[in-house]
C-alpha cells in the first residue's frame, strides 16, 4: 500500500507546488501551498515520523499559512497584472534556468553514490518506544542547547516583528493613532 500512497501524495505535492507558481491570485497560491504542506504531512507519516507530521500540519498548514492569508487580505492584493514583453521574457528566463538546474540534478543523481552506515534506531524500535517520546528525550538530552537557542530565535522573531510594525521615530501610543488614522 505504501507506494500507492506515495504516488498519490507525490501527485498532490507536485501539482500543488506548480499551481502555487502558476496562479495569478495570491490567495489561490496560498491555498495550493496548504495542499502541498498537507501532502508533505502525509509523507512524514509514511516515513514513520508522526510527530513531525502533526507539527507540519499544525505549524505550517495552520499557523504559518493563516499568517500569509491574513497579510494578503490585510494588503487587499488583487490578481497580478501582466506588464507585457519585459515580464514574459523574465518568466521564460526563469523557467529556462529552472530546467538547467533540473538537468544538473539529473546528471548528479546518475553518478554512483551510497548512504553511510545505519544508526541504532530502526523505525520499528522507535515505534515501539513511541515516536514522540523518543524525539522528546533527544530534544531535552543531546539537543538541549540547540533547543534553548531556538527559543531565543523565536524571542528575537517576536521582538523583531513588533519593532518592524511600529512606525519609525514615534512612540507606541502615537503609532497606534497613526494606524487608526490610516484609511
Amino acid at each position: 500500500m505504501t507506494p500507492v500512497f506515495f504516488l498519490l501524495f507525490a501527485l498532490m505535492a507536485v501539482v500543488g507546488a506548480t499551481m502555487v507558481v502558476l496562479q495569478r491570485n495570491p490567495i489561490s497560491s496560498a491555498l495550493y501551498l496548504v495542499l502541498v504542506f498537507m501532502s508533505l504531512g502525509g509523507f512524514f507519516v509514511l516515513l514513520a515520523a508522526p510527530f513531525i507530521a502533526a507539527v507540519q500540519v499544525v505549524v505550517y498548514a495552520g499557523a504559518i499559512m493563516v499568517l500569509f492569508l491574513f497579510v494578503i487580505m490585510l494588503l487587499n492584493l488583487q490578481k497580478d497584472v501582466d506588464d507585457g514583453l519585459h515580464h514574459a521574457a523574465r518568466r521564460l528566463f526563469g523557467w529556462l534556468l529552472g530546467f538547467l538546474i533540473a538537468g544538473q540534478a539529473v546528471l548528479l543523481m546518475r553518478g554512483a553514490w551510497a548512504i553511510g552506515p545505519r544508526g541504532k534506531e530502526p523505525p520499528e524500535l522507535v515505534h515501539a518506544l513511541g515516536n514522540t517520546q523518543v524525539i522528546g528525550i533527544r530534544l531535552f538530552g543531546d539537543y538541549l542547547w540547540p533547543f534553548e537557542v531556538t527559543s531565543l530565535v523565536l524571542l528575537v522573531g517576536v521582538v523583531g516583528a513588533v519593532v518592524l510594525s511600529l512606525r519609525r521615530g514615534r512612540g507606541v501610543d502615537e503609532a497606534q493613532e497613526g494606524i487608526e488614522e490610516a484609511p
Binding site: V14, L47, A49, G119, K120, P123, V153
Partner: protein, 109 residues
C-alpha cells in the same frame, strides 16, 4: 532508477530525493518568475519544506531520529522567519503601496 518498487512494498530513498528535488526546483522557478513578494516568500517556504522532506527521508532510511529533531528546529526557525518577513513586506507596502519586487527599486543605480 528502476520502478520495480511500485509493485513491491517499499519506497526507496531515491524516490523521496527525486520528489524533494522536484519540489525545490518548483520553488526556485517560483522565486525567479513571480514578482509578488508574498508569492516569492511562499516559494521560499516550499524550498524549506522540500529540504525537510529529504532530511526526514534520510533519517528514516538511516535508522536515526536526529533528522526528525533537525526538522523540528527548521520548522521553528521558519516560523520566526515568516513573522519577520511578513512584517517587512507589510512595511514595504506601507512605504511604497506595492508588493511587486521590481517596483521596489530605490537602490537601483
Amino acid at each position: 532508477m528502476s520502478l520495480s518498487w511500485v509493485t513491491q512494498g517499499d519506497v526507496p530513498l531515491e524516490a523521496y530525493l527525486v520528489l524533494s528535488g522536484i519540489l525545490f526546483l518548483i520553488g526556485v522557478v517560483g522565486v525567479l518568475v513571480r514578482r509578488n513578494a508574498l508569492v516569492i516568500f511562499m516559494c521560499i517556504e516550499l524550498m524549506l519544506n522540500a529540504a525537510n522532506l529529504a532530511i526526514v527521508a534520510f533519517a528514516n532510511k538511516l535508522h536515526q531520529t536526529d533528522g526528525q529533531v533537525f526538522v523540528f528546529f527548521v520548522m521553528a526557525v521558519a516560523a520566526a522567519e515568516v513573522g519577520i518577513g511578513l512584517a517587512l513586506i507589510v512595511n514595504v507596502f506601507r512605504a511604497r503601496q506595492t508588493v511587486y519586487v521590481d517596483e521596489v527599486n530605490l537602490l537601483k543605480g
